[in-house]
Subunit: 344 residues, 2 copies
């Protein structure tokens, strides 16, 4: 009997993927990217993705309001649709919850789901509601559409391509650390009132992430199409490994170009974690990482919404970072592995 | 604070449906049928459905083999696609499981998923695997396609239509009762070896249901299109209420025409439950119930795969059964309500 921890999440996904190699229908892309791609005629495709959030693993209701949780459950799925350079139009939502949840609690959860649907113009197409023996589980599946030639995979990066990341890095993880610290303070001294005002930005990034549909739009307006793209759910390091592995290339990124918010830096300082580690390995930012042909540099260099953090290199085995000290280090793909109990 | 039990599952779904009335995209049918329907151009539509199975609520691993469970999780979703008169082509599968599950156990689950995919020619398009604090949760979303004019809703039944049901009724519930009895015998006397050979059919119906894609095919070959259709997941009574409510009609069914297998009747006898109750309220058969215009009677009367059990009547308030004793009774929509802790 082999414990799952010997495989890890990525090993398990690889194992499942190998089991389902042959397809019965016309499928352009199955398991192994942010979303699956199926042709629907007229040069159009639909894309499909799914993510499940489990209480005690992905969220803690002692500080995550149900409304934000509903919003986040939708947001993380839409992020995968955008990462294919597609436009989401619908979701299904299944929830399982124990009898400690009231009608008012479930209403709050669906208010958050509704807010996300309205903000991103997607429709709730169906779902399932059931009881569970313990805790809350939310399973969302999202559907998007695009022209086939618009779809961007993880596998298209070429040597000399620019590596870009939207927004700032590590903020959601900073928010998580602050929330966990406040929770522990409260457990030790229940009369303490939490004051999160100095951390409002990073806490919001953790509790209510916004998927970057605006970036997809901006790139289209710039007349630019990424050669590869992925959403940053497990940290820049882990996503960079996915792109390099699937594109059979290497990468060099510049520590100096990693964009961290002031509040994130403050939290990194308080927790005595280096800013670079924070930016590379902090998960749940739901930003987009993408590569662009060097020829697009002039078109994109002045965007305030994403930053060039490095370049693609030819050697698949070298995924490196040029440190501020001048040295070069390997970028390790730590990521979030719930099966190993690691964080960040 | 209002407990969910005051609403029940159907009340909760109605509440969610009302919250999401306005749509942002072109949606032919959202929440409220077996699957949602979205146009994809050229007169074609895609249909979407999702179902979540939770350990301790929908299955008991002390008698449900993981391979069968994987198969069933796919089957119950495909059943919803067939109930729209559509052809399934893909699924996504998310699972959350505690650390008591080994690699071998997860392999078994995916073997069952694969068997169902092969049997019904659908592709696993993606998924999510994560840990849970306790137990196993399986969330499947299924996708199908059809011509828009082929789609059959719950709402199309007309007075004088024939009411048909495929296969036999109540067998899955009979299987559940037998399995629960054996489990209790084992708890009381662990040296007892279960002998299920007299109940093999009903046990198989419970553990490994087959969605009725063959019926969809047969109706097409007969040149017949149902006016309304639903899959029988909660029992004939409950599904009949859905069709009548959404079609604004009533129904009269004949107890004598309810088709029960010999093994089901034997279990009903052993548990001292009337055969009619068993057929009307036993859930999880995953057969199809559909209505057909009276003019199709000659085309369908000799099918061995489905039976005419009654007719649609004009009065929405009358959903009745003509009993073998000659009396008429109201058909109550009991169904399976996990929130109320009722079974069948």
């Amino acid at each position: 009997m082999t414990p799952i921890s010997t495989l890890g999440e990525f090993g398990l996904i690889e194992r499942i993927k190998n089991k389902f190699k042959t397809t019965h229908n016309q499928v352009i892309k199955g398991i192994g990217d942010d979303a699956a791609v199926v042709p629907i005629g007229n040069g159009l495709v639909q894309v499909y993705t799914t993510d499940l959030l489990a209480e005690g693993v992905h969220f803690d209701l002692s500080y995550a309001p149900l409304r934000h949780l509903g919003y986040k459950a939708v947001a993380v799925n839409l992020s995968d649709i955008f990462a294919m350079n597609a436009v989401p139009f619908g979701i299904t939502v299944s929830i399982a919850f124990s009898n400690r949840f009231t009608v008012e609690a479930i209403d709050e959860l669906y208010e958050g789901i509704k807010l996300a649907c309205e903000r991103y113009h997607v429709d709730l197409l169906g779902g399932d509601t059931t009881s569970s023996r313990q805790g809350l589980v939310i399973s969302v599946t999202a559907f998007g559409q695009a022209k086939e030639e618009e779809i961007v995979y993880r596998s298209g990066a070429q040597p000399n391509d620019l590596i870009c990341v939207s927004g700032d890095a590590g903020a959601a993880y900073a928010g998580l650390l602050v929330l966990e610290r406040e929770k522990n303070s409260f457990v030790n001294n229940p009369e303490l009132q939490p004051d999160l005002s100095d951390y409002d930005y990073v806490v919001a990034r953790q509790l209510k992430p916004e998927p970057r549909g605006d970036i997809i739009q901006e790139l289209r307006e710039m007349g630019v199409r990424p050669s590869a793209m992925i959403d940053v759910s497990d940290g820049i390091a882990s996503e960079l490994h996915h792109i390099c592995h699937q594109s059979k290339v290497g990468a060099l990124i510049y520590a100096n170009k990693l964009n961290l918010d002031y509040q994130t830096l403050k939290v990194a300082e308080e927790f005595q974690i280096g800013a670079t580690t924070f930016a590379l390995n902090g998960g749940e930012d739901y930003e987009l990482m993408f590569t662009l042909p060097l020829k697009d540099y002039d078109k994109v260099k002045s965007s305030g919404n994403f930053h060039i953090i490095g370049k693609i290199t030819p050697d698949e085995k070298q995924i490196q970072i040029l440190l501020d000290t001048g040295g070069i280090a390997d970028v390790e793909a730590q990521g979030w592995d719930h099966f190993r109990g690691e964080n960040g």
